[in-house]
């Protein structure tokens, strides 16, 4: 029920809504709960509404950590 996925903002419309993309599919998204939405931001979308912005710097930092973990693991032992 609380599932929400990151989608990329592709278009900001005059009526205050946005068009976001996930895996090449575009969705109309209500962005009224988020301040200062910019094109190419990633928004966390739930039930047609963006509920928060994805902090890309934080996400990338985490991904880097996972990349390192994966490398150490595969260096250290056979899968």
């Amino acid at each position: 029920m609380c599932l929400a996925v990151p989608m990329k903002v592709m278009e900001l419309k005059a009526d205050g809504t946005g068009v976001c993309e996930l895996e090449n599919i575009r969705y109309d998204v209500d962005i009224s709960l988020i301040e200062n939405v910019q094109l190419e931001d990633f928004l966390i979308v739930h039930a047609g509404f963006a509920i928060e912005k994805l902090d890309v710097a934080e996400a990338n930092q985490r991904l880097q950590l996972f990349k390192e973990l994966a490398e150490t693991y595969s260096d250290g032992q056979l899968d």
């Binding site: 029920m1 009224s32 039930a47 509404f49 928060e52």
Partner: protein, 366 residues
């Protein structure tokens, strides 16, 4: 998409699992069992889907909590929605999960089969659109959900006002997570020593919303996202705390959850809603754990507009969802599990939503 797939990397998962096993053996030297409650249904589903329970050491137990809004919806609420559809000739608009939830004797799917106008919506705004296109008909949106879903649902009022629609209202059964945590922590039958806190509820209310709770109850807590690596890191973080005998609130989901939450959403909730006691199916009434519309918005309050009660109701007494949701039994310990009760013919609400503990067990863990 890297912001999804990157959080599912299986080698990184193995590396974190290895750490989890090391931490768990330190715990077992101290004779400690980690009893971690994942409060949120989306965590429950992810844990089942990625087989996380199966890769954990024996002394690390994951216990599902009451965080599936569909599962904690009272039978009386379903009865009220059926009365609206059948006796008041109102159109019901709802998230699809609600259709199969058993009321006292029937479901909304039964009411739809009998000719009731019941519309499944992906977004609450779909209901506004329906109301606008059918000005001579009355629409009621079933307002269930936790803090994540509340702002989208009450946006209906803002939209309806802007469009001058008077034919749409909300039947509220909103629930709040922190008061439920409080009730769980006070419940002597619920023996957990760590909480994996919800991802998107926390996005709305903010990490700080739990600070007092963690201090007061002295219970290790980590906010985690719903992807498998988020969950594994969350579990690892909780085990570290248990090994070190530390208690703190850690936000592992910093890419989405801010300390103060989403101010715009919180203000919107405060404008339209006020706290009230709420009844959780199988658990009972938890003080101040719900949100109802403020008196100024009575026109949008379906229970007032149509004078229906969402109290009472007689669910099937044999269903043990209440014990499942408090982590007292596992779903397969319910005598009806996978016998009379299956996702196709659910007896209790925990078997209905894909996020219900019984349904997640049925699908992935049998």
């Amino acid at each position: 998409m890297k912001y999804i797939d990157g959080f599912r990397n299986h080698l990184a998962a193995k590396a974190i699992t290895k750490d989890i096993h090391e931490l768990a053996s330190k715990l077992s030297e101290k004779n400690i069992e980690a009893r971690i409650m994942e409060v949120c249904g989306s965590h429950t589903m992810s844990i089942a889907r990625y087989g996380i329970r199966q890769i954990l050491p024996k002394n690390v137990r994951l216990i599902s909590g009451p965080g599936c809004p569909v599962c904690v919806t009272d039978a009386a609420y379903i009865d009220a929605a059926i009365i609206l559809a059948e006796e008041r000739a109102v159109h019901i608009a709802t998230f699809g999960d609600m259709l199969k939830v058993p009321g006292s004797s029937r479901t909304l799917a039964d009411a739809r089969g009998a000719g009731g106008n019941i519309h499944v919506c992906y977004s609450p705004l779909d209901a506004v659109k329906l109301a606008k296109e059918n000005p001579l008909e009355q629409f009621v949106f079933l307002g269930i959900g936790f803090e994540t879903t509340v702002p989208p649902v009450i946006s209906i009022i803002k939209k309806a006002k802007a469009e001058k629609l008077t034919n749409i209202s909300i039947l509220t059964a909103f629930k709040l997570v922190p008061p439920a945590l409080e009730a769980l922590a006070q419940d002597k039958d619920v023996a957990v020593n760590a909480f994996l806190l919800p991802a998107h509820v926390s996005a709305i209310i903010g990490a700080e919303a739990y600070t007092d709770f963690v201090k007061r109850h002295n219970i290790s807590s980590v906010i985690a996202g719903f992807e498998p690596l988020d969950i594994l890191l969350g579990i690892k973080g909780l085990l570290q705390q248990l090994v070190q005998g530390k208690v703190e609130l850690v936000n592992q989901y910093t890419r989405v959850v801010k300390n103060q939450g989403n101010r715009v959403a919180l203000n919107l909730m405060d404008t339209y809603l006020k706290p009230s006691d709420a009844s959780w199916r199988g658990i009972g009434t938890i003080p101040q754990s719900g949100l109802i519309l403020r008196d100024e918005y009575a026109d949008y309050d379906a229970s007032k507009k149509y004078n229906v009660s969402t109290q009472g109701g007689t669910p099937d007494k044999r269903c043990r969802c209440g014990d499942v949701l408090r982590g007292i039994i596992f779903p397969d310990e319910c005598p009806l599990f996978n016998k009379e009760c299956t996702p196709l013919f659910p007896i209790g609400p925990c078997m209905v939503s894909s996020e219900g503990s019984c349904a997640a067990y049925y699908k992935y863990s049998r």
